[in-house]
Amino acid sequence: MALPKNLRNGFAPTEVEFLAESDMITIVPLHKMDALQLINGTYGPFRPPLKQEVPLWLAMTLKQKHKCQIQAPDWMDVDFLKTKLDEETANPEFSPMPFRFMEIAHLLLGCASDDIPQAETVRTLLKDLREARQSKARKGLQGLDPHYLQVDNMGLMEINEIRPFFSKAFNELRMLEPERTVGDSQTTASGMMSMS
């Protein structure tokens, strides 16, 4: 309980972002460089026209020193996002997106927007997508049932965003149910599991 209040409810957005920084991404190095020996692995050697897979944090560091170009992931593409957005608005359920799309997009658009084709359009599309998904989460709240909650295809950041509110609402709703016999208690227990 010594944690500051804003960290008690789960992860802070910055922490979630930190987790996403270890995802791999493809870069095109601009300088010749020997292999980097780091604790979690060896990356390189970097030979300029050849692509390399490195963790996102390393890619961002190199990018800030103008030593590489980041290749945007496949899904950060205007056409792809447009179809996704159509899909998202047409269907009632969440459409599949990469688990960490919000964090990665946020990081890449922040430090490497010149490497992403049509970065501004991508940014607006992602924002629209996020709004569409947020309104779905809100709709899900109306159908909240005290036993379980299905959160298919939601990204980590989205889950983290609704977690404090939903889990509290969920627990309160469960409390409002009259106490049951022992045989029924298993369903409630598994309902808790899916949320925590």
């Binding site: 910055t14 309160e172 409002l176 009259p178």
Partner: protein, 188 residues
């Protein structure tokens, strides 16, 4: 009080709510409960006792309980008709938590369902308010009508939304001028 509520301040406060009840027999020396100057409390007179006391002596069969007025038929009808416009905070600050206790104490088949429905109907609106307004600047009627449980939810939701906007605007990583330096004293 269940085990995990021992240190819970809200649980303690919710047990302070009064329940109307009737004693089966005369109680010597407890006339003050009725609010008059008689020494003894006579049987079958309506007195209001806090939940923590009433629950214990009701189990030992000294009193009969009545459903508290905030869960009366009239309020139930209101909750059914338009859950979002009932002022729960005025009825009872711990409406749901007290309700749960009442459900477990008094046999009432419809009350759990009514409370659940009301809670569920009010949730989306609470979430909407967390998305749009700043804490404490909102003068909306609805926010004032929330009971303590809902208020807690509103606060939680609001904190997450604020954090997300901060993250979105990169406030966490941006270096800012310290307040001391940005404040102009005029002397220097």
């Amino acid at each position: 009080m269940s085990g995990d509520e021992y240190w819970d301040m809200d649980a303690i406060l919710s047990e302070q709510q009064k329940i109307p009840c009737f004693f089966h027999s005369n109680v010597p020396g407890y006339g003050f409960l009725e609010g008059n100057h008689e020494v003894d409390l006579s049987a079958n007179v309506k007195v209001e006792l806090p939940y923590w006391l009433a629950a214990k002596i009701a189990l030992d069969d000294y009193i009969d309980l009545e459903v508290p007025p905030c869960y009366s038929q009239r309020i139930r009808n209101d909750l059914n008709a338009s859950p979002t416009s009932v002022n729960l905070n005025r009825l009872c600050a711990y409406y749901y938590r007290f309700g749960v206790k009442i459900i477990n104490l008094i046999d009432d088949e419809r009350l759990p369902q009514i409370l659940t429905e009301a809670f569920r109907a009010r949730l989306p609106l609470i979430m909407d308010y967390t998305q749009t307004s700043r804490l404490r600047t909102d003068r909306s009627e609805f926010i004032y009508s929330l009971d303590e449980t809902e208020r807690e939810l509103y606060k939680l939701g609001h904190e997450t939304v604020t954090e997300m906007t901060h993250w979105d605007r990169r406030k966490a990583v941006r270096i800012q001028t310290a307040e001391v330096l940005s404040r102009r004293t005029g002397r220097f």
